[in-house]
Symmetry: C2
Subunit: 168 residues, 2 copies
């Protein structure tokens, strides 16, 4: 099914994580954050996100992108800022011709932790356990990996169901 | 002072207009809309905006971009969609290394029509008169040209003040 790139977009920090599924096991290929620093201009911050993702698409050629869906926010300004960062993520995925699948945070938490109200700490602990990873600096990284894990699992299940249908 | 590219971003239709100032007179170089159709995917719509602007930056090499500032909205969903379109505009400007200047709609209306509450019809009429243009299909075009006109005027005034300071 190919590599899955999870992206947790943010106007200051965008988390990313690439997950690979081999023989039913999930592995982290790479993860990190794209961060330009809060003192940088908006243009420079969006460039950091877009050019960073562009390099990831080029190098790892992920088969799909799992992106965090947004539906709540503090105010118009923060929604606009987040929307701008998401726009750059969606645009770079489209330029790389990679399909994007969007998942709500509650769906990810339910899938990984069994509860839509799981804390970021719990999600990070489960991501680290599942991918056998050491401590992780930022929640943006574990949130991005959680998106990739969730999409990988869903796609694998769908493929299995398809196989069963083909070979009953 | 070079060409000014005005952009009125939208998730379905993005208006653009390039204005040139020669001997104190403003001229429209090109104007139009980037529109992918409401049935297209979000990815395809953002590609239309980004690749369209990229072509404009390449061909006309504008010295600056005048972008509509947003601060109100119906709901989170529409703010996110508009934010995504703005993100692509800002990103392409940053990739082309062209500085972006943001103006609120009320500022543009005050500057052109003398009132922050002028209608889109009035703005379009004034843009057409000022640039000696025939009828215009869409308000997105006249709004984009209005942004470019406003920025050109402001920059020209600033340059004149600077000249006066240098040669008192």
């Amino acid at each position: 099914m190919g590599l899955v790139l999870g992206i947790d977009p943010g106007s200051l920090i965008t988390g990313y994580g690439i997950v690979d599924e081999r023989d039913g096991d999930l592995h982290a290929v790479i993860f990190g954050v794209l961060e330009a620093g809060s003192r940088e201009t908006l243009a420079r911050r969006l460039l950091t996100i877009g050019q960073g993702l562009n390099a990831l698409f080029d190098k790892y050629k992920p088969a799909s992108v799992a992106l965090e869906k947004t539906f709540y926010a503090k105010n118009v300004d923060s929604v606009t800022k987040l929307g701008q960062a998401r726009g750059v993520c969606l645009y770079e995925a489209a330029r790389a011709q990679v399909p994007v699948f969007e998942y709500a945070p509650t769906e990810i938490k339910s899938s990984l932790a069994g509860s839509g109200r799981a804390s970021k700490d719990q999600v990070q602990f489960l991501v680290r356990t599942l991918l056998k990873l050491p401590a992780m600096e930022k929640f943006d990284m574990s949130d991005a990996l959680a998106l990739a894990i969730h999409h990988s699992r869903i796609s694998t299940t769908k493929n299995k169901i398809r196989e069963m249908e083909l070979n009953p």
